[in-house]
Symmetry: C2
Subunit: 400 residues, 2 copies
C-alpha cells in the first residue's frame, strides 16, 4: 500500500501546524502504508517571495523567479523532515529536482514531462518516509522550474501516477468539495464523491479546493484522489471515475469565479482564420483564455467575446493592441462567472432553462453563456455574484 499525501499552505502554515502534519503522516505510516508526502510553502510565503521579486521588476526574469519561489517549498520540506526524524520516523526530504520531477522550460508555468522515481523508490525500500517539495521541478538543462499556482497538487498527482500509488490524499483547510462556497451559501453541502469531470468543471469554474490541471492529470493517470481537511478527521470527498457518482444527481454544484475579465471584440471581419489568429497570439503569450463566444454579426463582421484571468488582462490588452483584426475592443473586469456543474446535465434537458428563469426572476442580466456537456456557465455583473450563486443553489435544491 502506497499513499501520497499532499499538505497545502495552511496545513504547514506554522511550526505547530508542521508538527501536526508530521503526526498525521505518522498515523498513515503506522497503518502499514508507505508514505510519500508533498508539501506547499508555508501560507503567505510564496506571496511574500513574489513581492520581493516584483520589488525589482514588474516582469521579473522568470528563471530567477522560479529559483526564488521554489525556496518556499524547500523550507517546509526540510522542516517536516526534521520533525519526522525527531519523532523517530526516518524521513528524507527531496527538492523537485532531487525527486526527479522533470519539466519543460516554460518557467513559472512549467509542465511535468516525466518523473524519474528511482531515488524515491530506493528511499521507500529503505523504510523512509519521503517528503517532496511540491510546485517545482527541473529542466533537462538543470534549471529549477515551478508549475504555477496550485502546482503542489499537480506534483502530488503526478507522483501518485508515476509511483502507481493506491491513494492520493490532498489535505487543505476545508472538509472537501461542497455544492458551492459555504461562505456564500451557508446551506452548501459537502459531497462524498464527485467525478473527475465534474471536479474539473468546478475547478475551472472557480472552486478552489483542487487545481484544474491536477484533476485532469488524475483522470488521465487514473489516480484515486481524496480531498480532506488536515484540521480534523472527517471523511473528505473522493474524486474518481464517473460511475461512482451516478446517484441520479443532476447538478452537483454551483461555482463562482471572480477572477475573470471579459474581452469583447466588435466588428471582427467575418472570414475564416481570424479567430485562429487572435487565439494563436494569445496562446503564444501563455494567456489562459477561458470562455469563447462568437455571436452572429452584421455587414460581414461579427462580435467575438472571451474571458481571461484578471491578472492576465494587462498582458491581453498589450497583445490585442498588436492586432488589426478588430474595430472596437471592450474590456470589463467587473464581471463574474457562475457555473452549474453536474454529470446529470448530459442526459437531462431543462437544466439550463431553470437557470435562466431563476436568474431572470431576480433581474440578473446574463452577459455571456457557454455550455459543455456537464457545465453551464454564465457571465453576470460582479454585484450579482453571491445572489446568483444562492438563488441557483436553491433552485437546484443542492442543500438536500
Amino acid at each position: 500500500m502506497l499513499v501520497v499525501q499532499k499538505f497545502g499552505g495552511t496545513s504547514v502554515g506554522t511550526l505547530e501546524r508542521i508538527e501536526a502534519t508530521a503526526k498525521r503522516v505518522i498515523e498513515t505510516k503506522k497503518s502499514g502504508a508507505d508514505v510519500v508526502v508533498v508539501v506547499s510553502a508555508m501560507s503567505g510565503v510564496t506571496n511574500q517571495l513574489v513581492e520581493y521579486g516584483e520589488h525589482f521588476s514588474k516582469q521579473p526574469n522568470p528563471i530567477a523567479m522560479d529559483m526564488l519561489l521554489s525556496s518556499g517549498e524547500q523550507v517546509t520540506t526540510s522542516l517536516l523532515t526534521i520533525a519526522l526524524n525527531e519523532m523517530g520516523y526516518p524521513a528524507v526530504g527531496l527538492t523537485g529536482a532531487m525527486a526527479g520531477i522533470y519539466t519543460d522550460d516554460i518557467h513559472t508555468k512549467a509542465r511535468i514531462e516525466n518523473i524519474n522515481t528511482s531515488r524515491i523508490k530506493r528511499e521507500l525500500r529503505d523504510g523512509k518516509i519521503v517528503i517532496v517539495a511540491g510546485f517545482q521541478g527541473i529542466t533537462k538543462g538543470g534549471d529549477i522550474t515551478t508549475l504555477g499556482r496550485g502546482g503542489s497538487d499537480l506534483s502530488a498527482v503526478a507522483l501518485s501516477g508515476a509511483l502507481d500509488a493506491d491513494l492520493c490524499e490532498i489535505f487543505t483547510d476545508v472538509d472537501g468539495v461542497y455544492t458551492t462556497d459555504p461562505r456564500v451559501e451557508k446551506r452548501a453541502k459537502k459531497l462524498n464523491t464527485i467525478s473527475y469531470d465534474e471536479m474539473l468543471e468546478l475547478a475551472s469554474a472557480g472552486a478552489k479546493v483542487l487545481q484544474n490541471r491536477s484533476v485532469e492529470l488524475a483522470k488521465k493517470l487514473n489516480v484515486k484522489l481524496i480531498t480532506r481537511n488536515s484540521f480534523n478527521h472527517n471523511e473528505g470527498t473522493l474524486i474518481t471515475g464517473e460511475d461512482v457518482s451516478m446517484e441520479a444527481v443532476l447538478v452537483s454544484g454551483i461555482a463562482l469565479d471572480k477572477n475573470q475579465a471579459r474581452v469583447t471584440l466588435r466588428g471582427v471581419v467575418d472570414k475564416p482564420g481570424i479567430a485562429a489568429d487572435i487565439f494563436t497570439v494569445l496562446a503564444e503569450k501563455n494567456i489562459n483564455v477561458d470562455m469563447i463566444i462568437q455571436n452572429v454579426g452584421q455587414d460581414g463582421t461579427t462580435n467575438l467575446g472571451f474571458t481571461v484571468p484578471q491578472n492576465e488582462l494587462e498582458l491581453t490588452k498589450q497583445t490585442m493592441s498588436t492586432l488589426a483584426a478588430a474595430k472596437h475592443i471592450e474590456y470589463d473586469d467587473q464581471i463574474v462567472k457562475v457555473s452549474i456543474v453536474g454529470v446529470g446535465m448530459k442526459s437531462h434537458s431543462g437544466i439550463a432553462c431553470l437557470a435562466f428563469e431563476t436568474l431572470a426572476k431576480e433581474g440578473i442580466n446574463i452577459q455571456m453563456i457557454s455550455t459543455s456537456e456537464i457545465k453551464l456557465s454564465v457571465i453576470v455583473d460582479q454585484k450579482y455574484a453571491e445572489l446568483a450563486v444562492r438563488v441557483l443553489h436553491n433552485a437546484y435544491q443542492l442543500e438536500k
Copy 2:
C-alpha cells in the same frame, strides 16, 4: 579579466542593499571584466532558519538542515539575478548544485571536493553575469550540503581557484583587516596588505573578516584576495603572498576570540597514545580543537589542556564522558583567547616577552600559552578581554 565578488549578509541584507550590490557588480562588469558573484543569505535569515529547525529538534537531522539552510542563499541569488536583468545586464542565478560545487557528505560542515565549472564557463561565454549561491554544494549522491559558518567565503575562493580568476573580492560591512577590533581599541588601523599566514592566524584567533578555511584555500590555490566594504569605495586589504607585506612590520595585529572554552584534564596517565586517543575521538565528532597544551605532571600522570568552540562544549562533554583516560576534567567557558600575530615574529626575539610583561603589569593572569611561528596566543579570564587587547595594541605601537 575574471573577477569573483562575494557579498556577505549585510551587503544583501535588504532589498535596497541588493539593489546597491547589483550596481556594484555592474560597475565591475562595465570595466570590461567577466564577473562571477557569490552571495550569502540576507543577514539574520540563516539564524532564523536554524531557529526553525531547532524548534523541532535539539539536533536536527543534518541532511534536512542543509536543505533548509541552503534556501537562504537561493533567495538572495534569485533576487540579485532579477535585479541585474532588470537593469539591463543579462545574469543567471545558480544554486551550489547547479554551479557544480561538489562536496563530501559531512552535512552542515561539508568540504568542497571539486567544482565542475562547465556551466559557469558557458554562461560567461554567453556574456552573462553569473550569480552563485554561496555556502552550499551537493554530494555525488545529489544531496544538498552546506559548508559551515562563513562558508560563502569558501565558495568564492574555491570558485576563484577553479575558474582561475584574476581577483577575488570579499565584500563585507567593514573596510578591511584591522590591527585589532576597532570596537575594542578605537586606535586600530586598517592594514593595506597582509600575508595569507598572518590572516590565517588572525582568523583562527577570532578576527571575523574572513573565514579561516577560505584563507587556507586561497593560499593553497594562490587566489589573490581583497576584502572590501560594500558600503563605500575604500581600498580594502589585499591578502596575498608573504613577500608583499615585508615592510619590516613585526606584529600586524591583535585578535580576540571570545568563542573558546577551555578543557583541562588532570592526572592523565603519562604514556604514549593517550593524547592520540582523546583527539581521535574528538575528531570523529568533528569537534574543532584549537589550542592544545600538555604540562608536565607528576606520579606518572600529566595534565592536558585544550580549547574548543563554545558551541561545541556540550558535545565535547558528552564525548569526553565516554573516555576513561582522565581522572578529573575541568571545563571553563569564562575565558578568551588573545593572539598577537605577525610574520616579523619569526625572526625577532623578544616579542613574546613584551606581551607577558605588558599583561603582568595589568595584573592579568595567563592561563595557557601557545605559540606558532607567527602567532602568540594566551588564554585569560573573560573579564580582561578588552583590556588585554588594548594594552597589547599599545605595547606593539600598532596605531602608528
